[in-house]
């Protein structure tokens, strides 16, 4: 009987772990899904925008500790907003200087943004040093809630889940319920026509790219609670992120969510039964195999050519 309760507790925690891995994956992939899905642009520097968000949080944590220690418990909310703004603004600049000149050449965007990611990594290294840093986290984000004696739910995990839910919800509202979202979707479907009906498609592109980068910034801020912050931290995530988006079917936000869920659960469950390395190989291989059989991804709308 005791064995059963314990088993239940582990199962519950493992389920939560799957959920939080899912949220981490989704957070990373959301920004990319917007940019890739809506604009067809491959942003290889996506990971670096994430890193920018993480360093923003780190800097803000230092500033709060120094100037307003009493606000330390709350700075994290501010950090998320500032990370969004800074990463977004940077994205806006990059779109203006680079991406806007490379539409219709998706493979070239991929290569140019790879160059950008090298430059950004070195810039971060020059500014913050090569060493990994750690943002001072508020007390309420650390530790866990003990539901029962055996079940501990990590607070940072809960926080990640909450932010992911809010962000995803917000994005859905923005894209499917706002006028701006309508413009984005219209531009994606038919650029020429959208321009003809008076949509400033260049502006829409720029804002979409900035939004995607901003979301990456938020992801970066949240990741300071679970991982490390270093100049190359973002590049660790990039391939998983791309796979998530492609696996989901590039044009579909819903697909991205489904694929993040599938990948996260596979990873989380297989990790429980085998070594982490093998679990990773198994998960990635499964994704590739399915992609080989169904290259359009999980969710792809049939469009009449």
């Amino acid at each position: 009987m005791a064995w059963l309760t314990e088993f239940g507790a582990i199962a519950a925690m493992q389920a939560f772990n799957g959920l939080s891995v899912f949220c981490v994956l989704l957070l990373m992939a959301l920004g990319l899904a917007i940019i890739f899905g809506q604009m067809g642009v491959i942003n290889m520097a996506h990971g670096e925008f994430l890193t920018v968000g993480a360093y923003t949080t780190y800097v803000l944590s230092g500033l709060t500790l120094h100037y307003a220690p009493s606000l330390q418990p709350y700075y994290f909310f501010l950090a998320i907003v500032v990370a969004f703004v800074i990463a977004g603004a940077l994205g806006w600049l990059v779109e203006w200087a680079m991406i806007s000149r490379l539409y219709h050449r998706p493979l070239d965007t991929l290569l140019a943004t790879w160059g950008l990611s090298l430059v950004m990594q070195q810039a971060l290294r020059s500014i913050f040093g090569a060493r990994e840093v750690s943002a001072e986290l508020p007390e309420w984000l650390m530790g866990s809630f003990s539901l029962t004696d055996a079940i501990d739910i990590p607070r940072n995990g809960l926080f990640t889940v909450a932010v992911t839910l809010l962000l995803t919800g917000g994005l859905f509202l923005l894209l499917f319920r706002s006028r701006w979202g309508l413009h984005v979707r219209a531009t994606m479907q038919n650029r020429v026509m959208s321009r003809a009906v008076g949509i400033d498609t260049r502006r829409v592109d720029r804002m979409t790219f900035a939004l995607g980068c901003g979301v990456a910034g938020v992801a970066g801020a949240v990741f300071t609670t679970i991982g490390s912050t270093g100049p190359t931290a973002g590049s660790l995530y990039i391939v998983d992120t791309f796979l998530t988006v492609v696996f989901g079917g590039a044009a579909s936000l819903l697909g991205t969510i489904a694929s993040a869920f599938a990948i996260a659960q596979t990873q989380s469950i297989s990790e429980f039964f085998m070594s982490g390395s093998m679990a990773k190989v198994l998960t990635l291989s499964a994704v590739i195999l399915i992609l080989l059989l169904r290259p359009q991804g999980l969710f792809a709308s049939k469009v009449r050519k």
């Binding site: 067809g40 490379l102 998706p106 991929l110 160059g115 090298l118």
Partner: protein, 374 residues
């Protein structure tokens, strides 16, 4: 004879370009550089195999593979396995728990040579495997993806993921592969010590010769109808398909060819550098090799070689003198080349080269004219 040359090597200019390159790598470098630097150039030239393959499959075929490191690595590993077995004879490994197997296996408590390694006792098998294993993998990937018309971008990302998976696999199976360290301490090839300066010279020439051979083969292919078809497919895939061609089979072919070139480069790398490690299989080296081709010019087989040499010389020089600036330069170079020089150095040369010639010729003519005057 001359017409054959003209036809397959890209006319007089193409032949001349090839001769200049041959002169540079076969005569100038060996004369000017000491053994150490020459060995370095030899290493760079092994990357040029990958770049030349990329010109064919990316520049002409429109297929951007971000996983060429996989094929480079597989070719290199096949060669390394053979050399490692030769270096692990029972006599020189007598301090091991199990003498006669590679040292890293002994460290991993493996007491018997795994079945996967057995055939690599044979040199013939190894040579076949160097090209065969990567080509079979490329064939499977190509068949699966191209038959189903996976788009350009998807293809790039899937190949990238394959590079990642293979790296994780190699690192994870260290009893079989040597793990992160790779397969090191290779000594002899069929009893011939590959670490001496003399051996390094010979290997350098073998490498350069093979590279030139690959370029000539590439030129032959581009000059054939297949070359024109590749370009046609890149620009008007539908039309080619509706002219009765099985587009995917051509893509598979050119992808396999690029894989074979990369694999030869990998094997030559192992021979010249003396080891192979998973750091050549991953995403970063794969993309770097795309940079080489992009800088040289994605449509120029010769340009790919110059691009590879230039970027690597730059890397060596700048990372020694200005380590801080190196990544800025590399990243910046990539951005500039992609945005403003999509045809790379070869494009710049094609645009300004003839003018330079014309200018010099005009000056010579003028000088001649002046001399004739009384």
């Amino acid at each position: 004879m001359m017409t054959v040359l003209d036809k397959y090597l890209g006319g007089r200019q193409g032949t001349l370009g090839l001769l200049v390159l041959a002169l540079l790598v076969l005569v100038v470098f060996p004369l000017v550089l000491d053994a150490f630097r020459l060995n370095m150039v030899g290493k760079y030239l092994t990357y040029a195999f990958v770049a030349v393959g990329l010109v064919l499959c990316w520049g002409y075929g429109g297929i951007l593979s971000l996983g060429q490191g996989v094929f480079f690595g597989l070719g290199g590993y096949c060669m390394a396995m053979f050399l490692k077995l030769e270096a692990s004879d029972p006599l020189s490994t007598k301090i091991q728990t199990t003498p006669g197997i590679p040292d890293f296996m002994d460290w991993n408590q493996i007491t018997e040579l795994p079945a996967m390694w057995q055939p690599f006792h044979s040199f013939g098998f190894t040579v076949a495997a160097v090209v065969g294993v990567p080509v079979v993998l490329a064939w499977v990937i190509g068949l699966a993806l191209f038959k189903r018309r996976v788009g350009d971008v998807y293809f790039s990302i899937v190949t990238q993921a394959i590079a990642l998976i293979l790296t994780v696999l190699i690192v994870g199976q260290q009893g079989l592969t040597g793990g992160v360290n790779g397969i090191t301490d290779l000594k002899t090839l069929l009893g011939w010590d590959i670490r001496t300066d003399q051996a390094k010279y010979l290997l350098y020439f073998a490498n350069a010769g093979l590279l030139l051979g690959c370029i000539v083969l590439g030129k032959f292919i581009l000059a054939s109808k297949l070359g024109r078809l590749l370009l046609a497919m890149r620009d008007k895939e539908e039309r080619v398909r509706f002219s009765g061609y099985d587009v995917s089979s051509f893509k598979v072919f050119v992808f396999c060819l690029a894989a074979a070139f990369s694999a030869i480069g990998g094997a030559m790398f192992t021979l010249q550098v003396g080891f192979m490690s998973p750091s050549f299989v991953g995403i970063v080296p794969s993309i770097e090799m795309v940079i080489f081709a992009a800088v040289g010019g994605r449509l120029s087989l010769l340009g790919a070689v110059y691009g590879t040499l230039l970027v690597n010389f730059g890397k060596t020089y700048f990372s020694e003198s200005f380590p801080e600036l190196w990544l800025y330069l590399m990243g910046g170079l990539f951005i500039v080349v992609v945005m403003y020089l999509p045809n790379g150095l070869a494009g710049v040369w094609a645009k300004h080269g003839p003018r330079l010639w014309a200018w010099r010729r005009a000056r010579a003519a003028k000088a001649a004219a002046l001399e004739v005057q009384p």
